[in-house]
C-alpha cells in the first residue's frame, strides 16, 4: 500500500527505501534494524556514568553544558513576564560572574514565541554563533492528540512568530499500533510546515516520548523513523511523562545517530529532555556523547539538554570551581 500524502516524502527516506516509500517498505526497514538488549544497554550506560571528571575537564564541561541548554518553561501558567525573566537568565545566567556563557535557546509554548523574540532582541540568533535561539513546542504538545490540521497550524504559527526551532511530538498512539506510515507522514508534513518566509526551515526536533514508547526496540525504530522523515534532532521526551530522559535511552539514540552518520555521512542532533537536574547527571550525558559520537557532537546544533532547574545546579558547581567554596541556592537566581 502506498501512502496518500499531502507533501512529498523526505528525501532521506527516498534515498534509503527507494522512490516508493510505502508502509510495508518502512515496516520492513525498521523491523530489520538490529534488536537492543536492554540489560547490556543499561550496563553500558551505567559504565559511562562512572567516569570521573576532574579539574580543567570539569570546568570545560560545566561551561559546555550551559552552552547546550534549551532553557525551558512549559507551564499552563506561563506569562510574557515569566518568559522575559527566562530570557534574562538565558542571556546572563550568573550576574556574579559575567564569564558564564549563554544557554543555547529558550524553549516555550507557541504563543510565547513573540515575547521571547522581543526579549532577546539583538541576542536572538544562532547559538553556534554565541546567540540564543527560540524553540517552540508545537503539534498539540505534549499529548499530540489533535487533528493534523491543528498540528500543522500550531507549527506554522510558531514559525511565523519567529521560532527558530520546532519541538514536535510524534503520534505515539499511531506508533504503538503499528501505523508507522502515519507517524512518518506527519513528521514530513510538520517539517514542511517549518518552512520560514525566507525559504529556510526552522530546525525540527522530533520528540519520541520514550517513556510512552516503553521498549528500547521501539525507541530505536522511532528514532530511525524520525530521521528518515526529515527530523534534524531526535528528542527523548516532553518532560510531562515519566520516565523522561534516561541515560540508556539517550545512549541508544546517540548510537542510532552514530549509525546513521556511518551509513549516510549526515549528522543528526540529540536532545535528552526532562529529569536532568544536576551537573553530575549532565556530565554523564556529556561523557556519553563524547564516547559514542565524539566531541564534535558537543555543539548546539547537534546536542541539547532540555532542562529548567539544571542551569542553577551547574552555576552552583561553577561557583565552587571558581571560588573554592561550596555555594548555596541563595547565590543563584530563580528565573
Amino acid at each position: 500500500m502506498t501512502l496518500e500524502r499531502a507533501v512529498a516524502p523526505a528525501q532521506r527516506a527516498v534515498d534509503i527505501l527507494g522512490g516508493d516509500v510505502s508502509e510495508s517498505a518502512l515496516k520492513g526497514y525498521l523491523e530489520g534494524l538490529p534488536g537492543v538488549d536492554a540489560v547490556g544497554l543499561e550496563q553500558r550506560a551505567a559504565g559511562l556514568g562512572t567516569r570521573s571528571i576532574k579539574t580543567s575537564s570539569k570546568a570545560w564541561a560545566l561551561d559546555r553544558i550551559i552552552e547546550l541548554i534549551d532553557l525551558t518553561t512549559l507551564e499552563g501558567a506561563d506569562t510574557p513576564g515569566k518568559v522575559r525573566s527566562l530570557v534574562a537568565k538565558a542571556l546572563v545566567p550568573d550576574a556574579s560572574d559575567l564569564t558564564t556563557p549563554r544557554v543555547a535557546a529558550v524553549c516555550v509554548y507557541g504563543d510565547m514565541v513573540p515575547h521571547a523574540v522581543e526579549a532577546l532582541g539583538a541576542a536572538h540568533g544562532d547559538p553556534d554563533q554565541g546567540l540564543v535561539s527560540v524553540a517552540a513546542v508545537a503539534t498539540a504538545f505534549p499529548s499530540g492528540r489533535a487533528s493534523r490540521a491543528v498540528k500543522l497550524a500550531d507549527t506554522r504559527d510558531a514559525v511565523a512568530a519567529g521560532a527558530d526551532e520546532i519541538d514536535m511530538v510524534i503520534d505515539r498512539g499511531a506508533f504503538l499500533s503499528g501505523r508507522w506510515g502515519q507517524v512518518f507522514d506527519e513528521i514530513v508534513a510538520v517539517k514542511d510546515a517549518c518552512r520560514k518566509a525566507d525559504g529556510g526551515y526552522a530546525h525540527l526536533k522530533v520528540i519520541l516520548e520514550t517513556g510512552e514508547l516503553n521498549t528500547y526496540d521501539n525507541v530505536r525504530r522511532a528514532s530511525v523513523l524520525a530521521i528518515l522523515a526529515g527530523g534534524d534532532f531526535i528528542k527523548t521526551s516532553t518532560g510531562k511523562v515519566s520516565p523522561a530522559a534516561t541515560l540508556p535511552v539517550t545512549l541508544l539514540m546517540l548510537e542510532t545517530v552514530r549509525d546513521w552518520h556511518r551509513w549516510t555521512g549526515e549528522k543528526i542532533g540529540v536532545k535528552p529532555a526532562g529529569g536532568i537536574r544536576t551537573s553530575k547527571d549532565a556530565i554523564k550525558y556529556l561523557v556519553t556523547v563524547a564516547e559514542t559520537l565524539g566531541e564534535e557532537w558537543l555543539v548546539p546544533h547537534l546536542f541539547r539538554y532540555g532542562a529548567s532547574s539544571l542551569l542553577n545546579d551547574v552555576l552552583l558547581q561553577r561557583q565552587k570551581l571558581t571560588t573554592g567554596r561550596y555555594s548555596g541556592p541563595s547565590y543563584v537566581t530563580i528565573d
Binding site: G35, V39, I53
Partner: protein, 536 residues
C-alpha cells in the same frame, strides 16, 4: 585540550597502610618464612611495593599442622551457625576495608581501580556472605543429611583475581567446616596478607586459615603434603595436570579450575551494539587475563566486516594506562613473564597469517603493557585460535551456519566458557545445549555471582565453584567410605605424625566392613553411597 582526556583522576593511595615486609600467616600469627624472601612489585611501574616471605617445606608442615589442630580442636566442633557468623564477620570487614583492598589489588596486580572497586572486592564480600548462609544448611547441599567436611584443604590460587580467588576458595571451605592452608600467587600476595589482618580482626580461631606465600615450589609442596585431605587449584592447565599427577593415589578430593579458550558466538541477528560491548568486555576485562575470557570470536560471515569495524571504533575509546586512575579501562599486564608470553603468542599468530590491529594509544614507558589487539584472518588451526593467550588479544574467526558455529566452538581441548549473541531464543537455547562449556553467557559475558556455579568441561578442569555445587566440593556424604589410597600414600600419612589424617582409620574400617558383607544382603538395600571421585 580534549574533553575526552578527562584530566587524571587518580585514586588516593593514602588509605593503604602497607608494611615494608610481610611474613607468613600461620596459626593466627605472622611468622617468618624459611625460604628466601621476595619483592612484590607494581606491574604498572616495575617498582617494589613490599617484601614477602617464602614458605619452605618446614613452614608448610607447620601450616598444615596448625590447620589440622584447628580442624580437630575447634572448627569441626563448632556449630554451622557459629561458622556462618564468622564468615559474616569477614564479609562485613571486607566491605569496611573495601577501598583499601581495591587500591592494594590495583597496585599489586595492575588491573584498573574501576574493576577492583566495582567488581573484585564487592564480589569477595558477596562470596563470604553467600557461603556464610550455607554453613548451617549443609543438609540441603545435595549430599544427603549431615554431610561431613573433608578436613584440611590445600588451596593454590592465581594472580588474575587475587583476593576474589581467595574468597572463592576460602568461603565454601570454611562454611563446610574445613580448615585451610592457602597459597596466593607469587606476583600478587598483597591482598591476601591484608586479608590475614581481617581474619585477626574477625577473631577467627587460630589455624583455621593459614596463608603461605611463595612461588611454584611452595604450592607444589603444599598440595603434595600428606596431611592434606582436599586440594583446590585455579591456574594453568599444565600445572593442574601436574597437581593431579602428584596427588594420584593419595585420595585427596580435587577441584581444578584451569585454562580456557572461550568462544564468543555472534549471529547476524544479534543485538549488535550490546554484542560489541560484550566482545570488548569479554576480552579486555582484566587485560584479558581471565580463564573464561571470550578470546575466540566466532562471528557469522555476513556481519564479520561490520562487527570488526565497530569493534575498532569502540576500541579507540578504551583508556589504557595508570591502573589507579578511575577512568582507566585497560591496565598493566601482571608480570614481565606474562607480557613475554602474550607478545610471543601474538607474534606467532601474525607469523601464521593473522592480521593484527590495535588502537593508536600511548603506553607508559615503564611497567608491563600490551595494547588491546584484534587478530583477523585467523584460521581454526592457528596457534592463536587454539592456545590460551591470557592477554588482551582477540582472535576473530567466522562461521556460516549454527551447526558450524557449534562445531568450531567445541573444537578445543578446553571447555570453560562460551557466549551466544542472538535475539532468537530457540536457537540460543539449542546452542547452549550443544556447547561443551561449563558457563554459557547469552547476550552477556563475564558475569559472576556467588550463587552461580563456575567451572569447566574437558581440560578446563573439574568441580564447580559457586552455588550449591560449590559447597559440595568441600563435603562428603555422611555414609561415604573413605577415599581409596595407595599403600605409598598410607605410609606417607602415617609417617607425618603431626598432621596425620584421621581418614586413614576410616579407610581401613570401610574396607573391612564391605568385605565381610554378603553380596545378596547388601544388594537388597540399594541405597548406600559409595562412589568417591575427583569430579563432581
Amino acid at each position: 585540550m580534549s574533553f575526552l582526556e578527562y584530566a587524571p583522576a587518580p585514586e588516593s593511595t593514602s588509605v593503604l597502610k602497607l608494611k615494608d615486609a610481610y611474613g607468613l600467616f600461620i596459626d593466627g600469627e605472622f611468622v617468618g618464612g624459611g625460604g628466601a624472601a621476595f619483592d612484590t612489585i607494581s606491574p604498572a611501574t616495575g617498582r617494589r611495593i613490599a617484601t614477602v616471605a617464602t614458605a619452605d617445606a618446614g613452614d608448610i608442615d607447620r601450616a598444615v599442622a596448625a590447620a589440622r589442630r584447628a580442624y580437630d580442636g575447634t572448627w569441626s566442633r563448632l556449630s554451622g551457625r557459629d561458622r556462618g557468623k564468622y564468615l559474616f564477620r569477614i564479609a562485613r570487614l571486607v566491605q569496611e576495608r573495601a577501598r583499601e583492598l581495591a587500591v592494594a589489588e590495583s597496585l599489586d596486580n595492575g588491573k584498573p581501580i574501576k574493576e577492583t572497586r566495582d567488581f573484585d572486592i564487592p564480589t569477595v564480600a558477596a562470596w563470604f556472605f553467600y557461603y556464610a548462609g550455607w554453613a548451617d544448611k549443609l543438609d540441603h547441599a545435595g549430599l544427603g543429611p549431615a554431610p561431613r567436611s573433608l578436613g584440611v584443604a590445600a588451596q593454590v590460587i592465581p594472580w588474575n583475581f587475587p583476593l576474589m580467588m581467595l574468597a572463592w576458595k576460602i568461603a565454601p571451605a570454611l562454611a563446610a567446616g574445613n580448615t585451610v592452608v592457602i597459597k596466593p600467587a607469587e606476583t600478587t600476595p598483597l591482598t591476601a596478607l591484608i586479608f590475614a589482618e581481617i581474619l585477626q580482626q574477625a577473631d577467627l580461631p587460630a589455624g583455621v586459615v593459614n596463608i603461605v606465600t611463595g612461588a611454584g615450589e611452595t604450592g607444589a609442596a603444599l598440595v603434595a603434603h600428606p596431611g592434606v585431605d582436599k586440594v583446590a587449584f585455579t591456574g594453568s592447565t599444565a600445572v593442574g595436570k601436574r597437581i593431579a599427577q602428584t596427588i594420584a593415589g593419595q585420595g585427596k578430593k580435587l577441584t581444578l579450575e584451569l585454562g580456557g579458550k572461550g568462544a564468543n558466538i555472534v549471529f547476524d541477528d544479534a543485538p549488535l551494539e550490546q554484542a560489541i560491548e560484550g566482545i570488548v568486555n569479554g576480552i579486555f576485562f582484566n587485560q584479558g587475563q581471565v580463564c573464561c575470557a571470550g578470546s575466540r570470536l566466532l562471528v557469522q560471515e555476513s556481519v564479520h566486516d561490520e562487527v570488526v569495524e565497530r569493534l575498532r571504533e569502540r576500541m579507540r575509546t578504551l583508556r589504557v594506562g595508570d591502573p589507579l586512575d578511575k577512568n582507566t579501562d585497560v591496565g598493566a599486564i601482571n608480570s614481565a613473564e606474562q607480557l613475554q608470553r602474550i607478545t610471543a603468542l601474538t607474534e606467532a599468530g601474525i607469523a601464521e597469517g593473522a592480521e593484527a590491529w590495535s588502537p593508536d594509544c600511548e603506553l607508559p614507558s615503564e611497567g608491563f603493557w600490551f595494547r588491546p589487539t584484534l587478530l583477523t584472518n585467523v584460521a581454526t588451526s592457528n596457534t592463536v585460535a587454539r592456545d590460551e593467550i591470557f592477554g588482551p588479544v582477540l582472535s576473530i574467526l567466522t562461521f556460516r551456519t549454527p551447526a558450524e558455529a557449534v562445531a568450531k566452538a567445541n573444537n578445543s581441548p578446553y571447555g570453560l566458557s562460551a557466549g551466544i549473541w542472538s535475539e532468537k531464543g530457540s536457537r540460543t537455547l539449542a546452542l547452549a545445549d550443544k556447547l561443551k562449556a561449563g558457563v554459557i553467557w547469552s547476550n552477556t559475558f563475564n558475569k559472576f555471582d556467588p550463587a552461580s556455579p563456575f567451572g569447566g568441561y574437558k581440560e578446563s578442569g573439574y568441580g564447580r565453584e559457586g552455588g550449591r555445587q560449590g559447597i559440595g566440593a568441600y563435603l562428603q556424604a555422611a555414609d561415604a567410605p573413605a577415599p581409596a589410597r595407595s599403600q605409598a600414600a598410607l605410609d606417607a600419612a602415617s609417617g607425618a605424625t603431626t598432621t596425620a589424617r584421621p581418614a586413614v582409620k576410616r579407610a581401613a574400617k570401610a574396607v573391612a566392613k564391605t568385605v565381610t558383607k554378603p553380596a545378596a544382603k547388601a544388594a537388597a538395600k540399594p541405597a548406600k553411597t559409595s562412589t568417591r571421585k575427583a569430579a563432581k
